[in-house]
């Protein structure tokens, strides 16, 4: 197990380095940052001087090396636009994005899994057919449109919920949370729904497909033959076996929540990393972009590791293998 985790860690580092490299080599093409760092009547000489001082003229590999070395110490450089250390900027945004993703993830799972199970067990039923179709509408609309329509309806027409931002947040160390204030919680509702919809559908369909598979297996039939009541068959045996494969994909899905948050955050002006990133792309704020992508990769490898470990704990067969 230990050696396994260690191996995974090594892999993760490789993955992150690759991501960093790819990302970094792409930035050189996304545009010239200088224009956003100076006003309109700044002269060419000054612009060039700035470029030089930023080391943007150094050979690529040198820039990359510098980046990796600093990143290793958690220093992602200074944002061109905000002239603050990127690490501080991200620090300030991290909690917003994570809380949003977390709530959405919970929503997606809490609704997705039971719905999937239900539609699998009652696969012929009218209701489950309804659920299936309804869930599709969720993924048939672009996220941003869903967001805006929600704002229009609940924010402008009904005036029930806030249309933007996080509301009041409480700071716990560098972590700010919206969970502790009424307005914070209210502001969470619309964005998290917008963000969760897509994943919810995916998870639900996945669970359904897997469940149908498992229900066909012999051991389910045998469990029935042993006289076990449906409840036991479905939830004790079938569901548990369903979740094994579901774990991996769900893990990845939830990981991508953090990235998908980009859209949701810009629609709701949610002060998270995604918003920071999309802003950074427009302003060609390379340090922020680099940091963000590495963060994303980081989250993914973490999630992947958690998933694998879960796997080991859930599935005895794997445990046996790892033992040998």
């Amino acid at each position: 197990m230990i050696s396994f985790i260690f191996k995974r860690l090594l892999q993760s580092i490789v993955v992150m380095l690759t991501v960093a490299l790819i990302a970094f080599s792409m930035f050189r093409f996304v545009g010239d940052p200088i224009n956003n760092m100076v006003g309109q009547d700044t002269s060419q000489e000054e612009r060039e001087a700035l470029t030089e001082r930023l080391g943007l003229n150094d050979p690529f590999i040198e820039q990359f090396g510098r980046f990796v070395l600093h990143a290793a110490e958690g220093d992602f450089g200074i944002s061109y636009k905000y002239r603050e250390p990127v690490s501080k900027l991200i620090e300030g945004r991290l909690s917003a994005t994570l809380e949003l993703s977390f709530v959405s993830a919970v929503l997606a799972l809490v609704i997705g899994i039971p719905a999937g199970v239900y539609t699998a067990l009652r696969s012929k039923g009218i209701l489950s057919k309804g659920i299936m179709t309804l869930s599709l509408i969720g993924v048939s609309l672009p996220t941003f449109l869903i967001g805006i329509l929600l704002i229009l309806f609940f924010g402008v027409v009904l005036r029930w919920l806030p249309t933007f931002g996080r509301g009041d947040v409480v700071a716990i160390g560098w972590w700010t949370t919206g969970f502790l204030t009424a307005s914070g919680l209210k502001s969470l509702i619309l964005p998290s729904i917008t963000l969760a919809l897509f994943q919810m559908t995916l998870i639900m369909r996945l669970v359904r497909a897997e469940m149908l598979e498992v229900l066909r297996t012999d051991f389910v039939k045998f469990a029935r033959a042993r006289g076990l009541p449906d409840r036991a068959v479905h939830f004790k045996h079938a569901l548990k076996n369903t979740l094994v494969p579901v774990i991996t994909i769900t893990g990845l899905q939830l990981g991508s929540l953090i990235a998908f948050a980009i859209i949701t955050e810009s629609v709701f002006q949610w002060p998270g990393m995604g918003l920071l990133f999309i802003q950074a792309i427009a302003d060609v704020d390379i340090p922020i972009m680099a940091a963000y992508l590495v963060m994303i990769a980081f989250f993914f490898v973490i999630i992947n590791m958690v998933v694998d470990i879960l796997y080991y704990t859930v599935d005895p067969r794997l445990r046996a293998d790892s033992a040998t």
């Binding site: 760092m37 006003g39 002239r83 900027l89 802003q279």
Partner: protein, 530 residues
């Protein structure tokens, strides 16, 4: 440190004390962009300067109507064509309690000229400052500079000792050499409002400065600013009553705002002029099917373009009646504006076709147009409209609309003026026509840093002479005459195709009244909460 926080607390406490009778009035507003820094010298950009103008002040100030009035300087007079004497205001204190003196002015000027500052150009307008006494200074300019004063409201004064104490004697530079400049996240000015908290691109909160050196018309005790990028979200936030003011508001949403109860659209002409430029210097256009020659060198072609564009339609449909079609490169608010030159070129497709034929392009030609899509009001839509209008006279325009970062990277000097036909907007930062002439209209000259934003390099020696003269002419009457002549020439040459003065478009809640300044600046002093 301890002492100063003490002071700050004291100030704040006093603020409450004085404000006691008045109840706390919080004013919340949103803008599309954000306040990238609190350092007054970090970026020469209108919103940043406009906002920090509430915290920091210059020797002179803008009044409601942008006329320049005394600020930290009580008065000034011209000693020689190149030297000015300023009497500084006594008894002014910075937010953290330090006294304002001549040293602060000199320091601030030096800082503005320092490495990483984006105000170098303005700082360069001053050759030297000598201190006569604590409240008298003499300013030397490199050449006679009649509009020196125009620059002062945005040349902000910082406290010397405060800056030295926090090692921020240089302007915040983006290079990260100074890891997190103190002035980037903290402010200590003399202005009517002081920064309470600031998280870049998230939220900035300012408190009323109860110790301001003159009384503040506003009854606002706290200002809360949030950047909101998406227009629909911004408008929604206003209509839903979460905010008191949002800007800019898409012009097409005006009706909706006026229809919705509790809010209204607040419009006004901005000092910014939107215009189209054409590459008139290269012998062959970079992006065209005409090879070997440059159609835009021919005045008739430029005129043909001018007559092909229906500015009224753009005003009505794209700008929803909110713009002012114009024939001049500067707006009415600008010193030197010539009313009679403001009438646009007539919309006359037939004439346009005829001119093209005369010029030898009976079937028109192809050209690529560069256009920003997130810089000016409906910029991309204007460009689209222009393309379809030119199509009607046979000119096929390929539209290349990009975000401002990419757009400017291409068309400006950095990109080697890589364009044949483009849309640009300009607000003379000095609010004086000379700035427009010397930046946009004179022949491009890298060495002398003139005409660097004359992207198409329209070049007429006569205009150059005039501009040079205007630059040093201190007699306003003579000066205006020369400005008029220069603009007349440009108009006859059809050097540019002015489109309109774009509207200021704000959405305001009925519970507040605000003053909409022509440079799109929001001056908290004039915000009143009902």
């Amino acid at each position: 440190m301890k002492l100063r926080t003490g002071l700050l607390v004291a100030v704040a406490a006093a603020a409450i004390a004085v404000a006691a009778p008045v109840k706390a009035e919080i004013f919340k507003f949103a803008f599309q962009g954000d306040l990238s820094s609190l350092d007054p010298h970090s970026l020469n950009e209108s919103f940043l300067l406009g906002t920090l103008g509430n915290v920091y002040e210059g020797l002179a100030l803008y009044d409601k109507d942008m006329s320049v009035i005394p600020g930290l300087a009580e008065s000034w007079k011209l000693l020689t064509p190149t030297t000015w004497e300023f009497k500084l205001r006594k008894g002014v204190k910075f937010h953290e309690g330090q006294d304002f003196t001549a040293d602060d002015v000199i320091f601030s000027w030096q800082r503005a000229a320092s490495e990483g500052s984006d105000q170098k150009v303005r700082a360069a307008g001053i050759k030297n400052i000598t201190k006569v006494d604590d409240f008298t200074i003499v300013v030397e300019t490199p050449a006679p500079n009649p509009i020196l004063i125009q620059d002062l409201p945005v040349l902000f004064i910082m406290d010397k000792e405060w800056s030295e104490e926090h090692g921020t004697t240089n302007a915040t530079s983006a290079t990260g050499e100074d890891k997190g400049n103190y002035a980037n996240l903290h402010a200590n000015g003399t202005g009517p409002f002081m920064v309470k908290s600031h998280q870049a691109d998230v939220k900035t909160i300012m408190l009323r400065n109860e110790h301001y050196w003159k009384d503040i018309p506003s009854n606002v005790t706290e200002v809360e600013f949030t950047p909101i990028k998406e227009a629909p979200t911004r408008v929604a936030a206003l209509i839903s009553g979460e905010l008191d003011l949002v800007y800019p508001v898409p012009v097409q949403d005006w009706e909706r705002l006026d229809a919705a109860k509790g809010v209204k659209a607040l419009a006004g002409p901005e000092a910014r002029t939107i215009f189209l430029g054409m590459d008139q210097s290269r012998d062959e256009l970079l992006y065209s099917n005409i090879k070997g020659k440059n159609p835009f060198k021919d005045q008739r072609v430029r005129a043909a373009f001018a007559h092909a564009i229906n500015l009224e339609a753009i005003k009505e449909k794209v700008m929803r009646g909110a713009a002012t079609p114009t024939g001049e490169m500067v707006a009415p608010q600008i010193n030197g504006f010539v009313p009679e030159l403001n009438t646009p070129y007539a919309y006359d497709p037939e004439m346009s076709k005829k001119l093209l034929a005369e010029a030898g392009y009976p079937d028109g030609f192809e050209v690529t147009m560069d256009c920003p899509n997130n810089r000016y009001v409906n910029d991309e839509k204007i460009c689209q409209a222009v393309t379809s209008m030119l199509a009607k006279v046979g000119v096929k325009v390929d539209l290349l609309a990009q975000p401002k970062s990419k757009y400017f990277g291409k068309v400006l000097e950095t990109g080697g003026f890589d364009t044949s036909f483009y849309l640009l907007g300009w607000t003379p930062s000095t609010m004086d026509a000379e700035n427009a002439l010397s930046s946009l209209i004179v022949c491009r000259n890298k060495e002398e840093k003139r005409g660097l934003f004359n992207l198409g390099n329209y070049c007429n020696p006569k205009v150059d002479e005039l501009t040079a003269a205007i630059g040093s002419e201190t007699d306003q009457a003579k000066r205006n005459a020369m400005i008029r002549e220069a603009f007349q020439i440009v108009k006859d040459d059809v050097g540019y195709l002015p489109v309109h003065q774009q509207p200021l478009s704000w959405g305001v809640s009925d519970r507040v009244t605000v003053n909409q300044r022509a440079d799109n600046g929001l001056d908290y002093r004039f915000v009143v909460v009902k």
